[in-house]
């Protein structure tokens, strides 16, 4: 991990901070193997200072201040508190928890080289963290001494470690494991021990992971997308035996989540487009849509099935009698979604909201009538768009064909209306269909369809990849600044000055981000989900 930095929730700092915690690398050995969740936190020594120097820190703080004017002071106080304990925290500390019925057991272990006795160590802990732990029933046990320290807290001390836990029994168990020379770090925690710095979490197959899985098995079928997105994730999680997550909050914040190999119904090769300049948004999903659709009963929650059936029959209507299931079966693995800055922002009817240009790219199996089917759906789409148009001044969208070097474009354009003296709108919306090679491109602008049509396709290892370009995002926010300010006036109830400040800060935050990248790929035995934020260099 390069330059990992981390920030810990206050609660954890309060429970575990202190000069007595030194070199706790081995503390994992004290954690019983049946815990449901284990968190390690590495010392945040440099991270507090470097956080405040990160390019995104200033704009983010200003943005938070818009919601809560005292936020910068509160965050400043939190960081100052963290700095205070920084000098004491020099190695990894470990927190573990286990759910037993309605009970919740927790345990915290840190190596303590202070050589202080149990009583002195607790006194010092109280002084440092302003706690009121009061020792009762001190007893000698195997591996050290243990005592109750107030409701729901017990403290233990071995020659090398300080242990806090919910009960004396769990503390005693940890002390025993720490003193046992044959006690090893359980396999499930091994990855926590091998990674350095940051906050790391592992959920073995226990209560917490089950809870997480059940939360993803959504029963809410109101939103059409939720069964597709969450259902798929839920299906993937169902086969998960453990989950590992890492968080870093340094100058380049990142999140990494690993699960054991998913038995997802897709195992396709995917492909990649090579844009010369980065588009605003570039998403590649290595999903086998045909297989996913065919096996939908395996991953879609029961409650969402009617919504999916309704979608399927609606699509049959859109396709003018062609079967949507047949169409799905003719898609090859891989789908891409591209967004670029609007190509056209001028003209007599400049759109109110400057939307990016979008394109959706599929790969197909060269079915001879595939293009006809898509054109049929395209026609229905235009008819619905024309019927629902609330723009009185706009002409209806009509289809025209245009030959280019990459294929014949099927474009929907608004025609001019010479009778009523109206020119065709210069609008950033001319839906276009292009089939070239095995690619089917549906774009909101013909030039974007052609640009994608010309790009070479390279096969790459299977992975999902989402990239957002900060500069392009900032540019489109600038173009839509007026709308952003209006939104702040109405939705937030800002005055003009406040609305301007709001827009300034949102744009500054976008400018501070060079790139955001979310990837999902296989690494050895694991499926990895990685989110990284790359700030602009100051």
């Amino acid at each position: 991990m390069p330059n990992s930095k981390s920030l810990l929730p206050v609660a954890l700092v309060i429970v575990l901070g202190g000069s007595t915690f030194l070199r706790a690398q081995d503390a994992l050995a004290g954690i019983p193997p049946d815990m449901d969740a284990v968190v390690t936190w590495d010392r945040p020594a440099e991270s507090v200072g470097s956080l405040t120097k990160a390019p995104w820190y200033g704009p983010l703080l200003q943005l938070l201040a818009l919601e809560n004017p005292s936020a910068p002071q509160e965050i400043g106080r939190f960081l100052a508190t963290l700095s205070r304990y920084n000098s004491f925290l020099q190695e990894k500390i470990v927190l573990a928890a286990r759910g037993e019925g309605n009970e919740f057991r927790w345990l915290a272990i840190a190596r303590d080289q202070s050589k202080l006795g149990l009583e002195e160590a607790v006194t010092r802990l109280n002084d440092l963290l302003n706690l009121e732990l009061d020792l009762e029933d001190v007893a000698a046990v195997r591996g050290g001494r243990v005592a109750g320290a107030g409701p729901g807290v017990a403290v233990g001390r071995s020659r090398s470690h300080l242990v806090l836990g919910a009960t004396k029994a769990i503390v005693q168990r940890a002390l025993r494991r720490l003193s046992d020379a044959s006690s090893t770090v359980p396999e499930a925690y091994r990855r926590l021990a091998s990674t350095a710095k940051g906050i790391r979490l592992i959920l073995p197959d226990g209560l917490f992971l089950k809870e997480l899985k059940s939360n993803f098995q959504t029963e809410d079928a109101d939103e059409f997308l939720s069964p597709i997105l969450l259902g798929d994730i839920g299906h993937g999680l169902a086969a998960t035996k453990s989950l590992f997550a890492g968080f870093e909050l340094g100058p380049q914040p990142s999140v990494r989540i690993e699960v054991d190999r998913l038995e997802a119904p897709s195992a396709p090769k995917t492909w990649k487009l090579g844009f010369r300049r980065p588009p605003l948004l570039d998403i590649h999903l290595g999903r086998d849509l045909a297989t996913l659709w065919r096996q939908r009963d395996q991953w879609v929650p029961k409650a969402a099935e009617p919504a999916l059936a309704e979608f399927s029959s609606t699509m049959n209507i859109f396709l003018g009698g062609y079967d949507f299931d047949d169409l799905m079966s003719e898609l090859k693995p891989g789908v891409a979604f591209i967004a670029t800055l609007p190509d056209s922002v001028k003209g007599p009817e400049r759109p109110e909201l400057l939307l990016p240009s979008f394109a959706l790219v599929f790969r197909t199996k060269f079915a001879p009538d595939l293009r006809d089917r898509f054109e049929s759906a395209f026609q229905t789409f235009l008819a619905v768009t024309n019927a629902n148009s609330t723009e009185e001044a706009q002409q209806p969208l009509l289809i025209s064909h245009e030959k280019t070097s990459v294929g014949t474009l099927c474009i929907a354009r608004r025609l001019s209306d010479p009778v009523n003296g109206r020119k065709a709108s210069e609008y950033n919306f001319e839906p276009t269909l292009l089939q070239t090679g095995d690619r089917l491109i549906i774009a909101t602008r013909p030039d974007l369809a052609v640009e994608i049509g010309r790009l070479a396709i390279k096969n790459v290892a299977r992975q999902d990849d989402l990239r957002v370009d900060g500069a392009a995002l900032a540019r489109i926010l600038e173009l839509d600044r007026e709308r952003l300010e209006e939104q702040a006036l109405v939705e937030r109830g800002d005055d003009e000055e406040g609305a301007r400040r709001f827009a300034d800060r949102i744009i500054a935050l976008a400018k501070a981000l060079r790139r955001l990248r979310l990837r999902s790929f296989d690494e050895g035995e694991h499926k990895v989900l990685s989110l990284s934020l790359e700030p602009t260099k100051p």
Binding site: E67, N68, P69, E352, L353, N388, T390, E391, E392, R483, E485, E486, L489, V490, E491, R492, G493, D494, D495, E496, G498
Partner: protein
């Protein structure tokens, strides 16, 4: 020549002789005609006497006033929301306009006419037409009533709402004609069924083309008709002209305005006098309102139950705060008054009709969010200026309390305001 009303309640209020004019009286004027004002403005206005207070309410700030700039952006926001079919955006935009308008009387009147000519987006569905109707009430709501009535009759949303667009020579639709007499101009008992039928024929051919009013002569019945005693080949314009001169129309509108801004009328003579007064000011709405606002009747009138919009916007204006428009709309729906969606052609309830067990809870919840201030979903913001508790009470409730406590922080002010707004005895104007 100035009309001198005979009815004692319509005589001008003389401060000192008829009663005092102080902060409580100024608060009553501002709360009923402008949704209220923050404590400091209330005290400032009150100290200037009645004529100046009336000037502050009824005179439009000059076009160069910098506050108009943000206000105009809100109007544009509403137009855009309508074009993209975003009803919630239109509602939020209007609510924020009411909160921050430099000339709140116009907004108060646009709400009044929205209730009088009740038209709902749920049926009209053409949101740009609904937005244009809203702008019509804003622009013409303080002008001459005959002009307003004429514009409403040609309004696209109204033509859809009362089925004017489907009325043809062969099948005249009577919906608009009936409501024109019953709800918009005369009231029940002052027209006959034959008047309705003949009036419907006069308005045939009033259609829409590309969303705008269009007269289609091929669908107009140009035969002879008799409406309210006048006979001839009457057109829609002729019927509107008849109403513009009809004495009952003046009385009907004058009484409705008095009922909304002053209080109920039980005295037949007062109703007659109000009609005369409305005629005397040439049916000019602003002049009429100014006369009743300065009348003895206004200052002697009993409290009115505040409708949800008056209640919510009044609370926010009384605080001198700004709030999230969409969140205020959320509360208004629960209190029973969703802008752009009155429940029927007869408009919203009045008086105690506003208060049910459900809407009372909704008002309590709104008060709770006021008390949360910046931390609540309303996202309340105000300049951190200390306020005397007594002045805040006056702005929020219209009544003075004798408590010299000084509220230093916004959090304390929001908490106190929430307490005031949450008391049912304060849900009055």
């Amino acid at each position: 020549m100035t009309h001198a009303p005979k009815h004692p309640l319509l005589r001008p209020y003389r401060p000192g002789t008829d009663g005092p004019f102080g902060p409580e009286q100024a608060a009553k004027l501002l709360r009923r005609f402008t949704f209220g004002a923050p404590p400091e403005r209330l005290l400032d206005v009150a100290s200037q006497g009645l004529p100046r207070t009336l000037g502050a309410i009824f005179e439009r700030p000059p076009a160069g006033d910098p506050r108009w700039k943000a206000y105009r952006r809100l109007l544009t926001h509403g137009d855009r929301a309508a074009r993209r079919g975003d009803l919630e955006g239109m509602q939020s935009g209007w609510v924020v306009r009411m909160m921050m308008s430099p000339f709140p009387l116009a907004e108060r009147l646009s709400l009044f006419w929205h209730d009088h000519f009740a038209t709902a987006a749920s049926k009209v569905t053409d949101l740009p037409a609904m937005q244009r109707q809203n702008r019509l009430f804003l622009d013409a709501g303080l002008g001459k009533f005959p002009a307003l009535l004429g514009a409403v009759a040609r309004d696209a949303a109204m033509l859809i709402w009362l089925d004017g667009v489907t009325s043809s020579k062969a099948h005249p639709n009577e919906n608009f004609a009936r409501e024109l007499f019953e709800l918009f101009s005369l009231g029940i008992g002052h027209y006959t069924e034959d008047d309705v039928k003949e009036c419907a024929r006069a308005f045939t051919g009033w259609r829409l083309k590309k969303g705008r009013f269009h007269f289609d002569p091929s669908q107009h019945d140009d035969g002879e008709k008799t409406v309210l005693g006048v006979t001839g080949p009457l057109k829609g314009e002729d019927v509107l002209e008849i109403l513009a001169r009809h004495p009952r129309c003046a009385r009907f509108i004058a009484v409705k305005l008095w009922t909304a801004f002053v209080g109920p009328i039980e005295d037949e003579t007062l109703g007659r006098e109000l009609g005369r007064l409305f005629d005397a000011v040439k049916r000019d709405i602003r002049s009429f309102l100014r006369r009743i606002a300065s009348s003895r009747g206004f200052f002697l009138a009993e409290p009115l139950v505040a409708g949800p919009v008056e209640f919510a916007i009044g609370a926010i204006r009384g605080l001198g705060a700004r709030a999230s428009g969409s969140r205020v709309v959320h509360h208004l729906k629960r209190m029973g008054q969703e802008p752009f969606n009155p429940p029927s052609v007869a408009g919203w309830p009045t008086g105690l009709g506003w208060i049910t067990s459900a809407t009372a809870v909704a008002r309590e919840n709104f008060a709770g969010e006021i008390a949360q201030g910046t931390d609540g979903h309303l996202n309340l913001r105000r300049r951190e200026t200390p306020v005397d508790l007594s002045a805040l009470a006056l702005a929020m409730t219209g009544h003075a309390v004798r408590d010299p406590a000084r509220l230093e922080t916004n959090a304390d002010i929001f908490r106190a305001a929430g307490r005031f707004v949450g008391q049912p005895q304060q849900w009055i104007l």
